[in-house]
């Protein structure tokens, strides 16, 4: 198995373990504003996904991601199956040539677009889009504009996702089941944004392990000062 495929298998396993550890916390978040099934559903789906990718015979990275997505899609009920699993299946096409900083950016962008499209959600609706959007934007800019090392770019993306999760607390839900609560949804952290952050944190930890590095200490701010004249050219 190629190194990137091995890393993706390790990442799926790490996500499954993390979601299992956070199961009760996710369920608590979901009981406040939803139907209290997010923790259990996600834990079951990702555990099955970890088993499924472990059984693949010499897969490439794309196949690993696609298999994980298909399993999550099948095993996770409600809207989470299509949102988490279906979007992984769709975005896996970007990893056809393996995992590189460039293909990872394309993957992240395609995943975000699919989630937004499928859920008909935008930033500010109190959904996982609020965590994903700043993460994907920060990752793309860190790789393409700031040309940061991939691990640092990913660390900044995770910091951005964390800020996005915090942003879901003081706003009102406009999509998903919590939207039925109207103003009562204000003051609650979105479970989907939270589990999305956990997934990203595990991708970062796994990437650091694979590279034998420590997770770099970063924040969401950019090291470069935008040059307006250069941008106009």
């Amino acid at each position: 198995m190629s190194g990137d495929a091995e890393a993706v298998v390790a990442a799926v396993e790490a996500v499954a373990e993390r979601i299992e550890r956070e199961r009760d916390h996710l369920t608590d978040l979901d009981s406040a504003i939803g139907d209290a099934d997010h923790g259990g559903n996600m834990a079951k789906g990702w555990a099955e996904a970890a088993d499924a990718v472990a059984e693949l015979d010499d897969p490439d990275a794309q196949t690993v991601v696609k298999t994980a997505g298909k399993t999550v899609l099948s095993e996770v009920g409600g809207a989470s199956g299509p949102l988490y699993g279906g979007s992984l299946v769709f975005a896996s096409q970007e990893l056809e040539g393996g995992v590189t900083p460039e293909s990872a950016v394309a993957f992240a962008e395609t995943y975000l677009e699919k989630v937004k499209d499928r859920g008909d959600a935008s930033v500010g609706d109190q959904t996982m889009v609020d965590a994903l959007t700043p993460a994907v934007h920060t990752f793309k800019k860190s790789v393409e504009t700031d040309e940061l090392p991939p691990l640092e770019a990913l660390a900044k993306a995770v910091a951005a996702a964390e800020a996005g999760v915090e942003y879901t607390v003081p706003i009102r839900a406009s999509k998903g089941r919590a939207s039925y609560l109207g103003w009562r949804s204000v003051g609650h952290q979105d479970p989907g944004a939270t589990s999305t952050l956990y997934i990203m944190e595990e991708l970062l930890e796994t990437a650091a392990d694979e590279l034998d590095s420590e997770v770099p200490d970063v924040d969401t701010t950019s090291p470069t000062i935008p040059d307006a004249e250069a941008a106009e050219e």
């Binding site: 899609l73 409600g78 809207a79 199956g81 299509p82 279906g86 299946v89």
Partner: protein
Amino acid sequence: MVGLVVVSHSATAAEGIVEVAAEMGGDTAIEAAGGDDGEMGTDADRISDALAAADDGDGVVVLVDLGSAVMNAEVAIEMHDGEAVIADAPVLEGAVNAAVAATDPKATLDSVIEQAEAAADIEKT
């Protein structure tokens, strides 16, 4: 012949809607894809199987109820080899209209969708 798939959170509701539509639908292939592994919900794999069963090459019109039914139907359509489209229609009335429209010898995927979507305008009083 254009086929139909009825997606509902309830397996019983999906089968019931198929029963009503089949009464009017002649030879139209109408598949029920309700429930999620015996529980309330929708399931992309189940919808995929129904699409394959309903599609003889002329395409499939998909009728859905609410929320995740739409998302799971979209995922199933992305994975389907043939042509399939979700009708923006009430699930029962749309299924009946589509079933009737599909029996027209000149029916196409577009004409069946159009008739399904016209069900949104049915007045009951």
